[in-house]
Symmetry: none
Subunit: 415 residues, 2 copies
């Protein structure tokens, strides 16, 4: 019987002690019998996703948890987000995360999310933006695609492009849209900045009198009259997991960014109906999809975004509820898959503090249950209990070799 593994990553689930939870962390405050079961049966520890004290982005952290040295291979968020949204990003392409936003006549951002414009409106706008033809002399093509609500991705394709350019997105409202600039004074970066500025201008012209926006204004909704770009990135050049460990791997995630990371790792992306990347996602549908995917794969990464969303919103009690849903997923996995020939590894990609609303550099808990693990004394799954576990304190990029070792998939070093 071949050994398999589910790597269950709860985005931003780890936290610091919260005053409103009587100085427990949301994990400590949640009913979590199945997570505790995994901790109790398994071997536990804590992980510094990137390095001690370094707050990780989800992209870098997921790269690390898949065994890649994020500090070396990370090449910007835009390409990962685009890849995860189903847009190709070839070597040489430069991709961006984009927002439909609302600006006033002085180019000051009024609403960075254009009133969280609907998927439908955004898609209609995107269709027209895609038809724009840039000057031939620029010698560049582009792909623009709307994803969820105000979110979109943009890929530039052509020769002599560079990701070393700044954002047009000022990052918050009441600030002026920024001119995109080269960050390294290279000719390629200057060329790319110029292209992006010109394309943004063309976008604005199309958006200005677009029927969708006229309709929005009529209904008192903020028009999506600009596309803001940020996070220029290129596709990281990774050896796929199949090549490193000889495994088939699948990814179950709604968040485009995580899907993008899994894609560059050569994993199969599984779509799940009802998976939204929000606290209202269909938790059990995702767990069910993981069980299904495991039938044809050796490794399934199961990612849930919800805890991070609750944390960024500062909602500790909602975070507790999300974790209780995550616990139900863990229960489903234990029930349907068991631990006879499958390893269940549960962790978070980073700590997100409900107090600060930010990603923090505190370590995250890890528990690995499955055949022949050296189970330890830890009886509960949370930040402080797992810190006493048999895995000790490890780095994010150590997790995958540890899991693959259990699966008999790591190569001997030496003879």
């Amino acid at each position: 019987m071949s050994l398999k593994a589910i790597l269950f990553i709860a985005d931003g689930m780890a936290d610091r002690p919260v005053k409103d939870l009587n100085w427990k962390t949301p994990l400590e405050a949640a009913r979590r019998s199945s997570l505790n079961q995994i901790a109790k049966t398994g071997v536990c520890g804590i992980i510094d996703p990137i390095a001690p004290g370094v707050p990780p982005g989800s992209d870098a952290a997921t790269l690390a948890l898949l065994g890649y040295n994020a500090l070396k291979v990370y090449s910007g968020r835009g390409a990962l987000e685009a890849l995860g949204s189903g847009v190709k990003v070839l070597p040489g392409d430069v991709a961006f995360r984009c927002n439909f936003a609302t600006v006033n006549q002085k180019s000051v951002v009024i609403d960075r999310r254009a009133g969280r414009i609907s998927n439908e409106d955004a898609a209609k706008l995107a269709r027209n933006l895609s038809k724009i033809k840039l000057r031939r002399s620029l010698n560049v093509d582009f792909v623009f695609k709307s994803t969820i609500q105000h979110r979109a991705v943009l890929t530039l394709r052509g020769s002599k492009l560079s990701a070393a350019i700044s954002d047009s997105d000022p990052g918050k409202a009441d600030e002026k849209v920024l001119e995109v600039k080269s960050l390294d004074n290279s000719l390629n970066a200057e060329r790319t900045a110029k292209i992006l500025n010109e394309l943004s201008h063309e976008f604005q012209k199309v958006l200005k009198n677009h029927p969708v926006n006229e309709e929005r204004i009529k209904h008192g909704l903020p028009p999506a009259n600009i596309v803001l770009c940020r996070g220029a990135g290129t596709t990281p050049n990774l050896k796929p997991l199949s090549e490193i460990y000889g495994i088939k791997a699948a990814c179950i995630a709604a968040a485009p960014l995580v899907r993008g990371v899994c894609k560059v790792a050569g994993m199969k992306l599984v779509d799940v109906k009802g998976a939204t990347g929000t606290p209202q996602t269909d938790y059990i549908a995702k767990a069910r999809a993981a069980v299904q995917a495991l039938k044809s794969c050796d490794l399934v990464l199961l990612h849930v975004k919800a805890a991070d969303v609750a944390s960024h919103d500062g909602k500790a009690k909602q975070k507790v509820e999300v974790i209780e849903n995550i616990d139900r997923m863990a229960g489903y996995l234990l029930d349907k898959v068991g631990l006879d020939s499958t390893y269940l590894a549960v962790t978070a990609d980073h700590t997100t503090s409900t107090a600060t609303g930010n990603h923090e550099g505190d370590p995250v808990p890890i528990a690995i249950a499955g055949p022949y693990v050296r189970c330890d004394d830890v009886e509960k799954y949370d930040e402080r209990s797992c810190a006493k576990g048999g895995l000790g304190r490890i780095r994010g990029l150590d997790l995958m070799p540890i899991l693959m070792n259990f699966l008999g998939r790591t190569k001997k070093f030496g003879a």
Copy 2:
């Protein structure tokens, strides 16, 4: 309210179990209610200042505890000691630690400390040594300054100097003074060795019949008839803490070496009356200065040398007393600063064994108390209790990012 931190480093405080203390370590044997309070309220662990098993010098350890990769940036003790003594060491300069010593007519060292010559006598000699003019063709200047008792620093300034040269100091009595040699056969090192040999010779000529020495001989004291040099070093090229973390940082230390490290890290050096770097230092005056410095700084490094001194002298009971004084300092900090918006981190720069009298490579305890830390079950501050704490086992250079993460001063990696 902005978050701040005090990094309290007790030099050489960590130890091994001591037979005369009923196999307790000096920390375990000491009354230390305030240190225990910090451990109890905080999160604990152990630190390998450089790497497991590697006995660190105080300079390298302090560099590491400030977050620098000592294995890469360390460039010799001499420059750090000189900088900490208020002597400039510019890029290109090579600096040395020096001792006034006593040799016999065969150049055999009789007393490496010239009878622990007084500060006054040493200063008089240094004044005359400073007037020496080297041959113009050597194209080099020098600064010589006496510091505490027999100790002094020397800086060579000129082009084509190298720190890759050996010591003239044999390191113990009854050995001959050594000729300084190039360690890498480079032309610059050969030139620098030649300069130092020639300068040492000039020093000896001035010292030979100096009135101070004639007076010493008359009183039966060993004459300071030679200057021994060791630890050639250059200024490490570090990004200051202000640039890395955007903080203002201050250093409270009497030991020139630690002051030098803090200076190259861009920290403000605070002078404290009564701080001597010995077990007879004014402990509370230093704690008071730390509290004062914290008003205008984000980070204060508070260093006490005394425990290391007691350890090198093999005085376990004195070390216990020193630790009880350090505990009083901790109590003062807890009382005056509290933990509402300040992090208190207490550690040692290395283990110094009272049994061997040497720096050892055993890890040191760390406790960090302050808002929102994931406090653990550890109730006592000592080597073995802290080893069970929630921080696990970390490296010296991880401490600063961990502290700066608590202060919200670390940058996110990824998006």
